[in-house]
Symmetry: C2
Subunit: 330 residues, 2 copies
Amino acid sequence: MVKITDVARHAGVSPSTVSYALSGKRPITEDTRRRIEESIRELGYRPHAGARALASSRSNVIALVIPLRTGVHVPVVMQFAASVVTAARRYDHDVLLLTQEEGDEGLRRVADTSLADALIVMDVQLHDTRLPLLRTLDRPSVLIGFPADPSGLTCIDLDFRAAGGACVDHLAEKGHRTIALIGSPPAVYARETGFAQRVAQGFTAAADGHGLSSSVHPCDPTPAAAKELAGRLLRTHPDLTGLVIHNEPLVRPLTEAFQAMGLRIPQDLALTAICPDETAEQAPVPVTSVAVPAEEVGAKSVELLMRKLEHVPVPQSTLIPPLLTQRASS
Amino acid sequence: MVKITDVARHAGVSPSTVSYALSGKRPITEDTRRRIEESIRELGYRPHAGARALASSRSNVIALVIPLRTGVHVPVVMQFAASVVTAARRYDHDVLLLTQEEGDEGLRRVADTSLADALIVMDVQLHDTRLPLLRTLDRPSVLIGFPADPSGLTCIDLDFRAAGGACVDHLAEKGHRTIALIGSPPAVYARETGFAQRVAQGFTAAADGHGLSSSVHPCDPTPAAAKELAGRLLRTHPDLTGLVIHNEPLVRPLTEAFQAMGLRIPQDLALTAICPDETAEQAPVPVTSVAVPAEEVGAKSVELLMRKLEHVPVPQSTLIPPLLTQRASS
DNA sequence: TTGAAAGCGCTAACAC
DNA sequence: GTGTTAGCGCTTTCAA
């Protein structure tokens, strides 16, 4: 194995000079730097990660905790993870993958052993059990999602409130006067990630702002529930012409249910959804939608983390503005 | 930070004894071990990962390279990654996530810097450009998928040949006499992962073995192509009563196309597929299918890698036998 | 602008 | 069964 002393000898300098040439932490004469770089290339030198971590107390690794529970749309998680890896590499960092399953112990382990310098935690729940730990851990972290009390933490996510509003704005603009939100299962509103409430708030506020009649309907994510709800909606809200769906598995069944009842989309009923682009595109009628910008959230998370590692202050909350993509359903 | 010398002092032993108590690499008196464990707990000691890696030349990290290209079913990749992480933890290892994009350089980097002890590479192509590197790297690796020449490598995957055969066996058992394989796009047969050919071989061999008439039909993964092919099949193969679909995006469109042409499934046409369970379950008629056992492949990959790290010989090829799940389509 | 040298915290001979 | 100690390869003071 080639080590820094080999490079130093080959370039006719001291090991520290090689180290500084590599880190840029002190000025090096152009000529010296060139010689060092040449030696590195010639010898194929690669600094030993462990030795580096030990001497500098920086592993250049960030840990990423991904959720595995059902109900989280898997492709979005992947997209996010990929974007974290890509962004991390831009800062010369690598990504260690942890699963939710490991819980607090996993976080503590990678932090306490100095395996990771910092943490990104996905799928943060309103009353996430990991919050106290994350607050006391001596390593910076960024949470994807907003807990009930984000104090002392750094959080980022799509602005779900604004997303709900954006769908309503779009429907209002198209002239709809009576709209409904089809939301997450009742259970989700009570606990979990909190974005369900935020969408509903944004939806209602925007509807009120536009002077529209609106109603909110939690729904279980099953085709049967979709069918039942579709029928009920038409009966109880005969004026209904616009819908916001915030329940990924229901996009297709709902569309099919309404079509089966003879409604044409978008002529009789306009659909909008908050769901992955993939889902929106593959629906029977491609649905106008707002997606979680996984790529952007991932990249921004890493940026926030890097700033925190440099002790640059960062905002406690980062809300990514929604981007609505119009499709055939409206 | 609590270090091993602190623990040693607290327990009244030498640092090496603590180290050996932790690693189990030499016998320790029951009483000493108890005192050490108590000190560790009391002081909250966690060995520094970098220091460990430096002293032992083992990072206890394995690198996992995941594909991001389209055409790879994302949930399967996630399932696989999760199972690798879980299995790795059982061996006290962590997983570093790399993306295909980084290419050779990523592999070389984590190997040469001793960041990772070993590598798992997913989505290996027939003539994968990384093969020469993986052969010469001084770190053990396991490939998911089989290249054209697997010599000097350790590969694992579903036995696609047997999977093709299993679908045919199932159809033969149900009394079908004329069957067809709807395969990957023509381009895939020429290059890429090679499982397309293997499925076709297994399909044809089994059909011949059962004395069935069979035909193979590559198809582009678009609903239009599905519709066209469905029509053509009925025209050119009027006796056709059984199908094997090995083209994930086509499962739904094909089913819909046949239904639209008035065929009842399974009465007029029996369907089987090689696709993720998720796809099979969500089809208009749930499809009898063979899935890539991502969980098992992930766990086995890690096991193979761990054996290689201990210099225990492992088989060059590991083929996971297919498991067919019968559903409504047959 | 560069060099010398003291660690970083741990493991694994080697010695007893 | 346990202790002593020399590194592992790098970074970073301190000194020049």
